[in-house]
């Protein structure tokens, strides 16, 4: 896959759930700001305004991007979401960048935040879910209602829960 045009923040460990309950005032203000902007973007009928609100929250968004209504882009770590030029994220999509389980699960799950990158001209269809750390490749398609837990290669269509590769089409696109 090609390098992204954005500077991608690296994956890192975050506190477990119990520890996050002792946030300081700055973190609380930040979360409140993110939530208010998220709700504005969530229900705003105009794409340009939705993108503006998401950018204010810290999401990296390229040119000519479409983000549908009722999209939930991670509330705590929106700065780990990167949407490149001409990509399309359709209505009801949920993009998660962090996972902080309760401490009792520490032996089996690591609390972490990881970047989600949607590359140029990729399409994430309606009501899909992208889990932390996935990269949606160049011109890839995530079919409606899919749950993506692994990165999707360029020019690949995935579908289902968990999303599985259904078809490739690089040769069809690049020869037309």
């Amino acid at each position: 896959m090609e390098e992204s045009k954005f500077i991608i923040l690296p994956e890192r460990d975050i506190p477990y759930y119990e520890e996050t309950q002792r946030r300081n005032i700055i973190q609380k203000i930040r979360k409140t700001k993110n939530t208010i902007l998220m709700l504005l973007a969530y229900s705003c009928p105009m794409n340009s305004l939705r993108i503006m609100f998401h950018r204010w929250r810290g999401v990296s968004i390229g040119k000519n991007v479409y983000i549908g209504m009722f999209c939930f882009l991670d509330n705590l770590y929106p700065e780990y979401i990167y949407i490149e030029d001409n990509a399309s994220v359709n209505a009801g999509t949920m993009i998660l960048t962090h996972f902080n389980p309760m401490k009792q699960f520490a032996p089996i799950f690591k609390a972490r935040v990881a970047p989600v990158v949607i590359k140029t001209k990729a399409i994430v269809a309606i009501r899909s879910t992208l889990l932390p750390g996935v990269v949606i490749g160049l011109s890839a398609i995530v079919s409606a209602g899919s749950v993506v837990d692994k990165s999707v290669a360029d020019y690949t269509l995935v579908r289902g829960n968990p999303a599985k590769k259904m078809a490739e089409y690089e040769i069809l696109i690049n020869n037309h």
Partner: protein, 74 residues
């Protein structure tokens, strides 16, 4: 032709390999969908260097017809 049928059959997950013969109407297969059509178009492009348009494929119904179409474009 046998190789083409094998390659065609590889694009299906659940359909039995013995189902595929030159006279098989692939549009009547239970598993057939637009995704299989995309996979077949990609397979034809990769293995036979023939780029078919979806509209060109629409006129074919059997594997033999599709094979003839690919052969005519080679």
């Amino acid at each position: 032709m046998l190789e083409f049928i094998k390659n065609f059959g590889d694009q299906f997950d659940d359909t039995d390999v013995s189902t595929f013969t030159p006279s098989t109407n692939f549009r009547e297969l239970e598993e057939w969908s637009s995704l299989n059509a995309l996979a077949v178009l990609n397979m034809v492009g990769k293995k036979y260097s023939v780029i078919l348009k979806p509209d060109e494929m629409k006129v074919t119904n059997t594997i033999q017809e599709l094979y003839d179409l690919v052969a005519s474009k080679k």
